[in-house]
Symmetry: C2
Subunit: 509 residues, 2 copies
C-alpha cells in the first residue's frame, strides 16, 4: 500500500490550535474521522486481506525512521498529515491478518472481532465496577461461565477473569494455588512457608518460569519436567521430581500442564497428571492458552481429556479462535479464591454503600485496577458465528494442518520434526539441494541450522509469506507453520510448500 | 440512544453459514462493516459527545439481561441482529466520554486517540519483535525516550515499557528494585534475602500493596507511611519506619512516592524522599500514574520537582492526558535492569540468528509475552496536538479545577475536604438543608456519611452527571470530582455545582 500523494491535500493546511480538546465535535472532527475510517476500511481491512497483497513490506529501522517522522514534536500536524501517517504506519506494519501470515500463535483480523474491538474503543470502558461498566461486567460473567461449561466443570461453576495475556494468566494460577494452600502468604510473603516449588514441562511456555521469578518464588524453583519424543510431559519424571523436592525440604504446590505447547503443539497427558496432583495434594493447572480452542470441536476436544479435573485453566481466545489481540482468560474451579487471594477492598472504588448489589463490582479479583474490556470482541464473534461457527473454524484449521502435513510428508526436500503433531502447528526442515544426501556428514546439522534463517530472510524481504523457525534442544533450526486462519484452503497449503521450495531450493549454506 | 427499530431490517434474514471464516471479504462483509462504522461514528462518537445526551442509562442487571441476549449460543445471529446488539450494548454502557463523566481517573474519548486505537486494532499487532511489529517497536522507543526527557533524565537516557495498567507498572518497580540490589532473587526467589520491605504512604494507590502480595513479599511488608493533613507523605515518619524495619532485621529496598494520589491528588515531597533514599541506599520510585501529565505543562510541572532523581517512574497517559484505555508506562533511569531482571531468552521467539539487529526484539523485557500496542493511540494524539497541545490541555484542566474550587468554596452547602488541592481532583461534601447548622450534633458525621450515596443514586438514575464519592480515614463520604476533559468550560463547572445542589438540597438523611 503506497503512501499515495492524494492523501497530502495540502501540507500547508492551517492547523486548528484548538484541537487539543478531548471531545469529538462534528465541526472540527467529522471530516477527519470520516476520511480516517474510509482509509481503515478500504486500505487496511479490505486492502490487506487479499492474497495478492504483501505480508510485509520489509524496511530497516533507518528506512522506517526516514519514511515516518516518529518523534513527538512540540507543534501539531494537520489532519492531512495525520492521514498520511496512518497510511505510512500501515504500510510498514506487518500484515498479521494476511492469510499467509502463519508466523505466530496469533493471526487473522477477524471482521466481527474487529468491529467488536472498535465498539469497545468507542465506549472506552474500564472494567472494575458495575457502576461504570454494567454491560461488560455481565458479559464477562456469561462468557466466562460458558467457557467453564465447555471446560467441563458442572454447570459452569467456578470463577474467572480476563487477563492481559496468557503469561499473566499463568501467574494467576501460581497466585491462586499458593493462596489456596497457604493463605498467609498474601500478608507474610512466601517467607511464610519453606521454599515453594512448582512443576512444568521443559517445553512449557516460558511464562511459568518468568512469573515464578516475578512472583518471588525464583525461576530455579520452577522445576522442569522431561518430555517424551512428541513433546509431552513425562509423568514418571514428574513424580520423581515431586519426591525429590519433598526430600529436599521444599514445598511443592502446583503442576502446570500444557494443552498445546508453544512449539510442538503437544498436549500433556492431563488425566495422569491430575492423578499425581491428587496423590500429592497439588494444584492442577492447565495452560491451554494455545490448545484451548479445540474444546469447541466435538471432533478434537478429546485432545484435552482430563482438563475437567483441573483446578484452573488458561485459555486464550486470541490464539486458536482468532479473536483480536488480546483476549486471554484465567478460569478457576474454586469460587472464591480469586477474590480472597487478591482483594484489597479499596474504599474509593469498591464502596459497599452503593445502591446496587456490589458483588457485581468484580474488579478487586484482579491485580490490575483499570482494565480494558477484552470480552466484547470475543462475545461479538461468538454471537456472529455461534458455537457451531467456532467449531467449523477449529475443524477447518485441523483439516488444513493435516492436509499440509501429508503434503510435505511426501514432498522432496521436506522433513518432519514430529511425525504426528497433535495441534495445528507443523514442524519441518526444508533441506535445500546443496544438503540433500549429506545427512551423515559431520557438518550436516550445523549447515542445516543455517537454512531456515536464510530462507526466512529472503521470505521477509520478498513479503510473500511469514513463517517462524527455531531450534529445539539438539535439533537445528526448523520451521513451524501455525494455522489459525480458517479462510485458508488446501490450495494455500500447496502455496506454502511451493513458496518454501522456491525460496529455499537453491540456497547455499 | 434508543435501540431503533430501523436497525432490525429483517429478523428472519438468512445467516450465511460460511461466516465463521476469519478473513474480511468484500462480498460478505462490506455492507455490514460500513453500517457498523456508520453506527460507531454517528451514534457512538458524535451521538454521545453532546452535553444534552445522558451520561448513563441506568438499568439493573435484570433489565440489561432482558434487553440484551448476553449468553453465547450455538447458532449464529444475522448482521442485522449484530447491529442491534451494538446499539444495545452502547445504550446501556456508561458514556465515559461524556463531558459530565467526572467519576474516575480516566474520562474522554479523544477523537485522535480513538482513531489511533482503531488503526491499532485493524493492524492487530503483538509487540515483542522487530520482525512482527517494526513500526511499533521504533515508536515505543521514541515515545518513551521523549517521556524520559520530560521526566528530566539527561538526554532521555534509561529504558521503559508500556504496561497493562499502572498497577502492574508499580509491580515492575518492585521487580526492578529488588533485582537491582539482589539479582539472585530472580533465580532463588525472595528467600535469598531476609524479609524484604518497601514503603509507601497510607494514601498511595492500593496497587503497591497488592503487587507486594502478588510478588511474594506479602502486603504486611509494604509498610504504610503516615501522611499530613493534605495527604502528602510524612518524611519523618518514613525515616522512622525505615530504621524500625532495619532494627527488626528486615531488608528495606524501595520507597514508592506518589505524584498525584488517587483520592486527594496530593504530591509527595519528592526531593526530601529522594534524599532519604540516597541516605539509606533505597530505590526511589515515583508513582506518577495520575499526576505525570502535569510534567507537560511549564506552569504546573513544579508539582513534581524531584522526579528527575527517581530511579523509576510510572506515568499513565490514559489518565491526565486522556489517552484511551489503556496506556500506561513504566520508565526507568537504569538502562539494562528491565532486560536483565525479566529476560528468559526463549529461543522460539527471540532467535539471535536473525538477519537484523536483534537488540530491537524488546519483548523479553516484559513479563507479558503477547502484548497489545498501546503506544500508537498516544503517539497519534501527540502528533495531532503536539507537546504544546498537551500543555494547553493540562493548563485547561487545572484552570477548570481552580475555577470549580473557588466557585464551591463560596457557595452555600458545599464544604471543602482539602482547602488547597494540588491536582485536578476537588474533594467536598454537599450538605443538604436538613443537616445545615447541625455540625455539632453527635450524629452529624453519621448522617453526612449517607448524603453522597443518596445523591449518587439519584444522579445515576437521572443520568445527568457522574461523580464519585468515598470515605477517607475518619472522614464521612465526600465527593471527588476529577477533571481530565479539556473540552469542559467554566460554565460546566457551574453546571456541576447546580446539579449537585438540585439533586442534594432537599434529601433527607
Amino acid at each position: 500500500m503506497p503512501a499515495d500523494s492524494d492523501l497530502i491535500l495540502s501540507v500547508n493546511e492551517e492547523v486548528d490550535k484548538d484541537l487539543f480538546k478531548t471531545l469529538p465535535e462534528r465541526k472540527k472532527h467529522e471530516d477527519f474521522i470520516r476520511r480516517a475510517v474510509d482509509l481503515l476500511v478500504e486500505r487496511v481491512v479490505f486492502g490487506r486481506s487479499a492474497r495478492s497483497s504483501k505480508v510485509v513490506e520489509w524496511a530497516s529501522p533507518e528506512d522506517i525512521k526516514t519514511a515516518i517522522d516518529l518523534k513527538p514534536r512540540r507543534e501539531p500536524v494537520s489532519h492531512d498529515e495525520l492521514l498520511k501517517l496512518m497510511a505510512d504506519v500501515t504500510r510498514y506494519s506487518v500484515n498479521t491478518g494476511h492469510p499467509y501470515f502463519v508466523n505466530q500463535l496469533f493471526s487473522s483480523v477477524d471482521p466481527y472481532g474487529l468491529v467488536g474491538q472498535w465498539l469497545t474503543d468507542a465506549l472506552n470502558p474500564s472494567v472494575y465496577t458495575y457502576e461504570v461498566a454494567p454491560v461488560f461486567i455481565l458479559m464477562e460473567e456469561d462468557v466466562l461461565k460458558e467457557m467453564r461449561t465447555i471446560v467441563g466443570w458442572p454447570d459452569g461453576q467456578g470463577d474467572g477473569i480476563f487477563c492481559p495475556g496468557g503469561s499473566l494468566a499463568n501467574g494467576y494460577a501460581i497466585s491462586c494455588a499458593r493462596f489456596y494452600y497457604y493463605p498467609e502468604i498474601k500478608t507474610k510473603g512466601v517467607y511464610a512457608v519453606p521454599r515453594l516449588v512448582l512443576f512444568t514441562s521443559e517445553l512449557a511456555h516460558y511464562s511459568t518460569r518468568k512469573m515464578a521469578a516475578f512472583m518471588g518464588i525464583g525461576d530455579d524453583n520452577c522445576i522442569q519436567v522431561k518430555t517424551d519424543k512428541n513433546g509431552k510431559m513425562d509423568v514418571d519424571d514428574l513424580e520423581f521430581k515431586i519426591n525429590e523436592a519433598i526430600e529436599d525440604g521444599a514445598t511443592p504446590f502446583l503442576v502446570t500442564a500444557t494443552a498445546g505447547t508453544t512449539v510442538y503443539g503437544a498436549f500433556d497427558p492431563l488425566v495422569a497428571i491430575a492423578g499425581l496432583c491428587q496423590k500429592y495434594n497439588l494444584w492442577f493447572h492447565v495452560d491451554a492458552a494455545w490448545g484451548g480452542g479445540a474444546l469447541m470441536s466435538r471432533k478434537h476436544r478429546h485432545l484435552l481429556n482430563g482438563i475437567e479435573m483441573a483446578d484452573s485453566v488458561v485459555w486464550n481466545p486470541h490464539k486458536l479462535l482468532a479473536a483480536p489481540q488480546q483476549c486471554s482468560t484465567f478460569l478457576i474451579r474454586h469460587k472464591n479464591i480469586l477474590k480472597q487471594g487478591h482483594s484489597s477492598d479499596a474504599k474509593y472504588l469498591f464502596q459497599k454503600d452503593k445502591f446496587y448489589d456490589t458483588s457485581l463490582d468484580t474488579g478487586d479479583k484482579h491485580i490490575q485496577c483499570g482494565r480494558r474490556a477484552d470480552v466484547l470482541k470475543f462475545w461479538f464473534m461468538w454471537k456472529a458465528k455461534g458455537t457451531e461457527g467456532f467449531e467449523k473454524h477449529i475443524d477447518t484449521l485441523f483439516d488444513n494442518a493435516k492436509f499440509f502435513l501429508e503434503h510435505i510428508r511426501q514432498r522432496e526436500g521436506f522433513k518432519l520434526v514430529i511425525n504426528e503433531p497433535e495441534c495445528t502447528n507443523i514442524m519441518f526442515w526444508y533441506v535445500p539441494n546443496c544438503l540433500r544426501g549429506l545427512e551423515n556428514e559431520p557438518d550436516y546439522r550445523e549447515r542445516l541450522d543455517k537454512v531456515a534463517p536464510k530462507i526466512k530472510e529472503k521470505m521477509i524481504k520478498e513479503g510473500s509469506m511469514m513463517v517462524t523457525y527455531q531450534p529445539q534442544g539438539d535439533l537445528p533450526n526448523f520451521f513451524r507453520i501455525v494455522f489459525q486462519n480458517s479462510a485458508l484452503e488446501h490450495k494455500d497449503m500447496v502455496y506454502f510448500a511451493n513458496e518454501l521450495e522456491r525460496l529455499g531450493k537453491n540456497i547455499k549454506v
